[in-house]
């Protein structure tokens, strides 16, 4: 009986550690192969000729048309800057700057990759089509609540993620990768 209970403990710990680590590595992007800047996460090796095993596993389950490294880099955020999960009935302010790039786009999508913007509204925000402050910084409102200025209007309920694609970017040069190198994601308010 003692042996059986210890064997059960052994198998339970093994499964918990095995699946837990895999979930952390691939879903949360928290172990190896990722670049984290504030709430933003990127798989930095995904478009390189010899990606690490974690990146290869992520690319396999993601199965998207990724960019080669020379083309740019994709950051995603599933949480705001305070660590809370992004939800579609709330509005967020994307506030700050980006590393130098030819241009960038910001999209709001669900966990299956479908855009959650309102039909007929802008489907992405484009770096050359937004209002900016004099110092080049910007604020984009993402959410269902009417906002002035740059507004990416979303609809529906549930969780969502933000995708920031930087094209022809200097990110890989290693310059400007402090936490404020990418914009903060700040909760503004929620619909009831």
């Amino acid at each position: 009986m003692k042996f059986l209970s210890r064997l059960l403990l052994f198998i339970s710990v093994a499964l918990l550690v095995g699946f837990g680590l895999t979930y952390l590595a691939l879903e949360k992007g928290g172990l190896f192969g990722t670049l984290r800047i504030g709430p933003w996460v990127a798989w930095k090796e995904i478009g390189s000729p010899n990606p690490d095993p974690y990146t290869r596993a992520y690319a396999a389950i993601s199965s998207g048309l990724e960019m080669a490294r020379a083309e740019g880099i994709k950051f995603t955020a599933k949480q705001d800057s305070d660590g809370n999960v992004l939800v579609r009935n709330c509005s967020y302010r994307i506030d700050g700057t980006t590393p130098e790039s030819a241009f960038w786009t910001l999209a709001a999508i669900d966990y299956n990759g479908a855009s959650i913007t309102r039909l007929g509204a802008d489907i992405v925000m484009h770096s050359s089509r937004i209002n900016r402050d004099e110092d080049g910084s910007f604020a984009i409102n993402v959410g269902p609540i009417l906002a002035s200025g740059n507004w990416l209007e979303t609809v529906g309920t549930g969780n969502f993620q933000l995708v920031l694609n930087l094209y022809d970017s200097t990110v890989f040069s290693g310059f400007g990768l402090q936490d404020d190198a990418l914009p903060a994601i700040i909760l503004e308010g929620c619909n009831e």
């Binding site: 198998i11 000729p49 690319a59 396999a60 080669a68 241009f103 022809d168």
Partner: protein
């Protein structure tokens, strides 16, 4: 008590092994890989311009809705892969991936003079013939080497305004992709 700790430690070690096996085997066992999605595009030796991504619709290839995408699949066993395109717009890029999803090549228009893109994709055998000067190639051809024969090419074009998307789409569709 110490035995419970030992069994738990053993479980942790086995868990780490399970994790490593899962990570290493995932590319082999995933059935809906990007290559399988590319195979469904009917784009063998021709450029297929992908449909625009609309709001609230599925986006299986996880494309940026802002860009136009042309995708072409090649088998280098049929000959050297050739891509010849007159690219539109202020920003465009090209990437080449093999069937395992590994990036073979990628660049943007910043590294290429003008809008003309001429590219040859060679396997190891063809590269050897090229170095032995047994293959004639067009002057100015960008040479890319792939270890695998099954590759696909992705052209990305940024349209600055919606009004020009149609024209850019037509121009992208005119790109020649095939083997020689």
């Amino acid at each position: 008590m110490s035995r419970i700790v030992l069994w738990s430690l053993g479980g942790i070690v086995l868990g780490v092994v399970l994790h490593l096996v899962a990570i290493l085997s995932m590319p082999t066992f995933v059935t809906r890989s990007v290559w399988s999605k590319v195979l469904e595009l009917d784009n063998f030796e021709k450029i297929v311009v992908l449909e625009n991504i609309e709001a609230l619709s599925s986006n299986p290839l996880k494309l940026d809705p802002e860009l136009l995408y042309g995708v072409c699949r090649l088998d280098l066993a049929n000959g050297v892969g050739i891509l010849n395109a007159q690219m539109p717009g202020d920003f465009w890029s090209i990437s080449i991936f093999d069937a395992t999803g590994r990036a073979v090549y990628g660049t943007t228009n910043r590294s290429i003079v003008g809008q003309s893109l001429k590219l040859g994709i060679f396997n190891d055998e063809q590269i050897k013939l090229l170095s032995d000067q047994e293959l004639d190639i067009e002057e100015g051809l960008l040479i890319v080497e792939s270890q695998l024969n099954d590759v696909f090419v992705v052209l990305r074009v940024a349209a600055p305004y919606k009004a020009v998307r149609g024209r850019y789409r037509e121009q992208l569709a005119k790109a020649i992709c095939g083997s020689a």
